[in-house]
């Protein structure tokens, strides 16, 4: 992770003396601290310009009151009968043009909830309630799981809980090469470190501020060599000239770099935006090449047409099936 520049940190009064708050603040010595009552005073205000904020977001340290763990949207999962997600953070240090976070919040500032222990309690409750059911938890739905790990230490905090509960799976989905939390511990069978991937040529245009595809592959390869299970997330699938060659090349290099026994699962997800979200994102970046592609509206969703979606998924699935068992391949529709 490159150095994250934070000029302003808003701090909820309630957690200003929290040890985690103090630890985070100590990492940004030059930042100005502004005390607030609730994070919504800054984060949820109307008339914010997401695009301008994104060029230099502030950090908001807050206390989360509820909604620590939520059921994952339908179609989001890798085989378990129940899927849940939790987000210790809202927004992301990366700036990927297809990301739903651009249209999700009116602010581009990062909110970090410091009361990690409340996440622990809620996760444990759900595990207890779902005794004997195969469940998967996803960390980092409203953010990247690891991108700000140097600052938050959330992964490091949550790892012991899932080590203790080996009966449930936990996926850390990321584009970050910040793999420290996993390099110093013994690999766990129930952990999946999942990387979002797309052909390098496309990623260079759409994945702003992220580690390159090659760096991600290297990080996965390193994790695999240590014994960690890897998830490959070709999500979203992006259409364009020579897409077949580009995906073929990507899948080939990925499977050459990571031993198949290290791969937990592979999933493919189409590019889809709810109508209003697309409208909001398009308004922010009308000159974005992604939106000049063959996207159309159908039943309130903006996406490539069925034919393209099916063709892309089928093509990539077929290629992947050469390397791994089909039962490890999933379609993500959330």
């Amino acid at each position: 992770m490159g150095k994250v520049l934070i000029e302003t940190i808003y701090i909820e009064k309630k957690i200003k003396d929290h040890p985690r708050t103090k630890s985070i603040l100590s990492k940004f010595k030059k930042a100005r601290h502004i005390e607030i009552d609730r994070y919504g005073e800054v984060f949820n205000k109307r008339n914010q310009n997401f695009r301008i904020q994104k060029s230099n977001p502030a950090l908001i340290l807050a206390h989360k009151n509820d909604g620590f763990v939520l059921p994952a949207p339908e179609g989001f999962g890798i085989g378990a009968s129940k899927n849940y997600y939790f987000s210790h953070m809202y927004n992301c240090i990366y700036d990927c043009r297809y990301c739903f976070l651009q249209g999700m919040y009116s602010s581009a500032n990062y909110v970090v909830f410091v009361n990690f222990e409340d996440f622990d309690n809620e996760i444990q409750k759900i595990i207890k309630l779902n005794y004997n059911t195969k469940i998967t938890f996803f960390s980092g739905y409203d953010c990247d799981s690891l991108a700000l790990e140097n600052v938050t230490g959330f992964a490091k905090h949550i790892i012991p809980l899932f080590k203790k509960h080996s009966e449930v799976d936990i996926e850390f989905r990321t584009k970050s090469i910040q793999i420290n939390p996993f390099s110093s511990i013994t690999p766990q069978e129930n952990f999946i470190i999942a990387y979002s991937l797309m052909p390098d040529l496309i990623s260079k245009s759409l994945d702003n501020k992220t580690p390159s595809i090659l760096k991600r592959i290297n990080a996965m390869s390193l994790l695999a060599s240590k014994g960690w299970k890897i998830g490959l997330r070709f999500d979203p699938l992006i259409h364009g000239k020579n897409w077949k060659c580009l995906y073929e090349e990507l899948i080939d290099i990925v499977f050459k770099s990571i031993p198949r026994e290290s791969i937990h699962s592979v999933s493919f997800g189409p590019l889809r935006f709810p109508k209003q979200m697309f409208k909001d994102i398009f308004k922010l970046y009308p000159d974005e090449p992604l939106f000049s592609g063959p996207l159309s509206r159908n039943k309130g969703i903006v996406s490539y047409n069925n034919e393209i979606e099916e063709e892309m998924t089928f093509f990539c699935q077929t290629l992947t099936a050469k390397y791994i068992n089909e039962s490890q391949i999933f379609k993500c529709l959330a």
Binding site: N47, N56, S205, P289, S292, L295, N305
Partner: protein, 285 residues
């Protein structure tokens, strides 16, 4: 009245300033002249209409009313940057320093707001307390003024918060008696900061310019919509299609494609087909 000449890339800046003495140097610097002797608040603007300035007078009600008045009178576009600058008392900081405001407390109802500030600035950032009466007990307070909160509340209704800036020059405090303030030293306080003010304004001009480039409809949109009759809803569709096609299409080619279109519906259909068959060339970007 001189006919307005708007350049292609004009930014838009609106100033709301309480006192004439605070505004003098800015009016001179940006070559603004009085628009009318008879308006409710005196309004100044420069030759190309990119800078407008209103003298609000003292107090919250005046600041709010003047901001709205300027918005209407100047027909301020969505990409306008809104600036409030003036003197302020201060419990800390140095006499004469220009400060950026990043938190405002309205003394009358204790409501707090958090303006965004210029990025990577070397200027000191402070909290501002807006009161309805002069305060001389500076103890534990940062900046104190009589307009800021009302200006911000109104400006944030008509513009993006990131396009609003509040700047205060420290004029009085525990060791600088407010009673010593007069027209001349108020004017001098702002004048002595003109270089910093120019830097700050360049930032807001640039923000405004960038916003305009994104918000403004492409030229091709107007060329097409002038040639055929479009309903309001079709115009929205056309705007979106033209922006999308603009990324990859060459204007001349698009016009050529449309030359046989009989009506707006066929124009939209042709443009849609172009998008549907377009394969993005990722290496180009």
């Amino acid at each position: 009245m001189i006919k307005e000449i708007f350049k292609e890339n004009d930014f838009s800046v609106r100033w709301v300033i309480a006192l004439k003495e605070e505004a003098e140097i800015i009016i001179t610097q940006f070559k603004m002249s009085l628009l009318s002797q008879t308006s409710v608040f005196p309004i100044f603007k420069n030759f190309d209409g990119s800078h407008w300035l209103i003298l609000s007078g003292i107090g919250r009600h005046n600041a709010a009313a003047a901001t709205l008045y300027l918005y209407e009178k100047s027909n301020a576009p969505r990409w306008t940057s809104w600036i409030n600058i003036g003197i302020a008392g201060c419990g800390k900081g140095n006499y004469g320093d220009l400060c950026l405001v990043d938190k405002i407390i309205n003394n009358s109802n204790s409501e707090k707001t958090y303006p965004d500030t210029m990025k990577r600035s070397i200027l000191t950032r402070m909290e501002l307390l807006t009161t309805d009466f002069p305060i001389t007990d500076y103890n534990s307070k940062e900046l104190i003024d009589m307009e800021g909160s009302a200006f911000y509340d109104m400006a944030s209704k008509i513009a993006s918060r990131e396009l609003i800036g509040l700047f205060k020059v420290i004029s009085d405090g525990p060791s600088n008696d407010i009673k010593k303030l007069n027209k001349s030293n108020i004017s001098d306080l702002i004048k002595s900061n003109i270089s910093n003010i120019n830097t700050v304004i360049s930032y807001y001009e640039l923000l405004s310019l960038r916003e305009k480039k994104i918000i403004n409809k492409p030229e091709l949109f107007f060329e097409i919509s002038n040639q055929w009759h479009f309903t309001v809803s079709q115009k929205h569709q056309l705007d979106s299609l033209v922006r999308r096609i603009n990324t990859f299409g060459i204007k001349k080619d698009i016009k050529c494609l449309l030359k046989d279109c009989k009506n707006s519906k066929s124009v939209i259909s042709v443009l849609n087909k172009q998008i549907e068959s377009h394969e993005v060339e990722w290496g180009r970007f």
